[in-house]
């Protein structure tokens, strides 16, 4: 039976980065800061602990230089024949600020301890709670909801005989799934922009129901207190034979009309990177798209992204001013005529043009009530090509009176050869600098500015269609447009704007994806048009239906079929 599952990472999202794990009982190769990583991956290493190294081929030899590997926490002490230690290993985790979580989720390595004693303290070292747990799996949740803790100690009191304690991961919270009657509604809104004139933020809206009153805002142990912005939300559709990932989102807002119900909104990774700034943009001269995107994603803290191979080596020139990471990515995607797509998974995909997988949307899967609109004709594209040139002479960039301290000064144009009086420059970047002022006084920054020597490229049709007037689309703020790519991109934009037939229709969703091309059977039953799916609003609880917004050229691809195209090869029609 088909069902929707929402998995919420009810994790204190700042606890791990704020944590400082220490232990006096650890192997010399252990780097406890690894426990702060979300991407730690410890291999299954052989040891000579009693009856541990199973000869099934799954164990790797222990690394020659374990200090340079992902290892997690390994105690120095090994338990005795009774699984007890002379002195119990203790892992202490200190925090600089208060945190709240439903407990701890511990991930052990290949063998789990049999008993642990966890204590929670305030920031001032007052014990809040103590609880003994008996793990029964490598992945174990220590269920104890604590608010405002500032220190945790985990004492490992019993193991299997002759064992080290080996811990790969500590998550401050729990992963919780909601399904069946707990889901009152779930809607996902997906959108792509084929020309990346903007990068859309996919959203998820869902409502949860709980008979136990867990959503009581004032309840001491209700789950409501555990919700935090940017917690991960994994939405999937489970069928008898497969599970479809419908997307990974990040919790944005929530409200609770009563203790039994809660409503949530979540955004995708693009929405996440829209909340932070990319300050490390610079003047690029024939820089590969891959390098620029890597820098943006690295700055945004996004590791899950892919760039189509044919885009990676394209070189771009221009400037990225200080803007959000989403806007910076949009600048690159626009200059590549690429699509940025974050739907149906946890990876931001950057690819070239709508994908075609031979999908057909028959009339039988369409609900009544759809419509097709004819968009305004576009006859001209005016696209500004930028050329950033460093001035020969230095000039004053800024001046002001500053008290002693450290300041970040952002520039509205890119700057080079920066110098300061009245302060020390501790960081210097084309878009900003960081200065340290030792005593209050006037600080003057001097440097060379880049000037923009821009030009406008026009792409237009010589002869207008009958009945059409000139309609110009202009773009002057695409700062990675240069003389080397402006003509190509202007033509691509023009081609896109010739797709004027925008269709809105509700369908029973099968495998269609946003960003794909699909052949849509029209109402008369005989005509098909090739459509790019630009937008979907998917109702997961109300029957797995989707409200589609598509764009095409309105041409019937059945009557316009070409030799060997219509029924062979399945690149249907005139595309």
């Amino acid at each position: 039976m088909e069902r929707t599952v929402i998995a919420l990472d009810l994790i204190d999202v700042t606890a791990k980065s704020d944590s400082s794990p220490t232990s006096t009982d650890k192997q010399t190769f252990v780097d406890l800061t690894q426990l702060k990583s979300d991407s730690l991956s410890v291999s299954k290493y052989a040891t000579l602990e009693d009856n541990f190294f199973l000869l099934d081929g799954s164990f790797e030899p222990f690394p020659e230089t374990p200090a340079s590997e992902d290892m997690g926490y390994w105690s120095l002490s090994q338990s005795d024949e009774n699984g007890e230690f002379t002195i119990n290993p203790v892992l202490e985790i200190d925090f600089t600020e208060n945190h709240t979580s439903a407990g701890l989720t511990l991930t052990f390595l290949e063998d789990y301890p049999l008993e642990i004693n966890v204590k929670w303290y305030t920031l001032t070292d007052v014990k809040i709670s103590e609880k003994i747990f008996e793990p029964d799996a490598l992945y174990y949740f220590c269920d104890n909801q604590i608010e405002d803790f500032g220190k945790i100690t985990i004492e490992f009191t019993k193991t299997n005989p002759y064992r080290y304690v080996k811990l790969e991961k500590i998550d401050y919270g729990v992963y919780k799934e909601f399904s069946y009657d707990e889901l009152a509604s779930t809607t996902i809104n997906e959108e792509i922009n084929p020309i990346s004139s903007e990068i859309s933020i996919n959203t998820a809206n869902f409502a949860l129901h709980n008979d136990n009153g867990d959503f009581d805002l004032t309840g001491l142990h209700g789950v409501y207190k555990l919700f935090q912005q940017t917690q991960k939300v994994h939405i999937s559709q489970v069928f008898d034979t497969e599970t479809k990932q419908m997307g990974t989102f990040y919790l944005d807002t929530w409200k609770s009309p009563d203790e039994y119900n809660a409503e949530f909104t979540a955004v995708d990774a693009v929405g996440l990177i829209d909340k932070t700034d990319f300050k490390l943009g610079q003047i690029y001269v024939n820089e590969t798209a891959e390098n620029i995107i890597d820098a943006i994603m690295d700055s945004a803290g996004i590791a899950d992204y892919t760039i189509a191979d044919d885009l990676k080596s394209i070189t771009l020139s221009g400037w990225i001013p200080i803007c959000t990471h989403r806007e910076a990515l949009q600048q690159v995607a626009f200059a590549l005529n690429a699509i940025v797509d974050d739907s149906r998974g946890n990876t931001i995909k950057i690819y070239d043009g709508a994908q075609s997988y031979g999908r057909v949307i028959p009339r039988s899967r369409k609900f009544s009530g759809g419509s097709t609109d004819l968009l305004t004709y576009v006859s001209d594209i005016n696209l500004t090509a930028h050329n950033y040139v460093l001035k020969d002479s230095s000039e004053q960039i800024s001046t002001g009176t500053y008290a002693a301290g450290t300041y970040e000064i952002q520039f509205d144009t890119a700057v080079s050869d920066l110098s300061a009086t009245g302060a020390t420059i501790t960081e210097s970047h084309p878009n900003y600098c960081v200065i340290t002022v030792s005593a209050e006084g006037t600080v003057t920054l001097t440097g060379k500015k880049y000037t923009d020597s821009s030009s406008i490229y026009n792409y237009s049709v010589a002869n207008l269609p009958s009945g059409a007037g000139r309609n110009v689309v202009s773009c002057k703020d695409a700062t990675l447009m240069s003389l080397s790519n402006v003509a190509e991109i202007a033509q691509e934009l023009f081609n896109y704007y010739q797709l004027r037939y925008q269709t809105s229709v509700e369908i029973e969703l099968e495998n269609e994806l946003t960003g794909e091309k699909a052949a849509m059977q029209r109402a008369n039953g005989t005509d098909y048009t090739m459509e790019t799916i630009e937008k979907m609003a998917i109702d997961l609880v109300g029957g797995f239906t989707a409200q589609l917004t598509t764009l095409g050229n309105g041409t019937n691809i059945v009557s316009a079929d070409y030799l060997n195209e219509k029924y062979v090869g399945e690149d249907i029609g005139v595309m």
Partner: protein, 132 residues
């Protein structure tokens, strides 16, 4: 001192997680000891190690054990059906069996030959050596 090798591990030992399905420090020490025994016997220089349950078996240590086995094997003879020396890493019961079967066969062959049992036309005629 020679310690009787174990080379009858089976898939069921791994599946059922019996003691024979694991490599413990005692197993490695038995291999090291038997290599040393044969090395002394044949005047071969090898490097051995005494393992404890707190040690970590690295690939270089496994390669050292392999080199020891190759050294004692080259110093004497094996049966036709003695397994080839397995490549590292030594992390399967089949490889564990092969290692100790090799040591067992070398010792068995040596012991048999040491009994001075001569058969007509066999011992100096150059073909198959020993009692086989």
């Amino acid at each position: 001192m020679w310690v009787t090798p174990i080379y009858d591990r089976a898939q069921l030992d791994v599946t059922n997680k019996t003691a024979k399905g694991y490599y413990n420090y005692i197993d490695l020490n038995r291999i090291e000891q038997d290599c040393d025994y044969l090395a002394v016997l044949f005047g071969v220089t090898i490097t051995t190690k005494e393992w404890t349950r707190t040690d970590f078996p690295t690939l270089s240590e496994m390669n050292r054990i392999k080199n020891n086995i190759v050294a004692v094997r080259n110093a004497y003879h094996t049966y036709v059906n003695t397994p080839a020396t397995p490549d590292t890493p030594y992390n399967t019961y089949l490889k564990a069996n092969d290692i100790e079967k090799i040591l067992n066969d070398i010792k068995a062959l040596y012991d048999a030959n040491s009994q001075d049992v001569f058969y007509a036309d066999e011992i100096y005629s150059g073909e198959t050596i020993g009692v086989i």
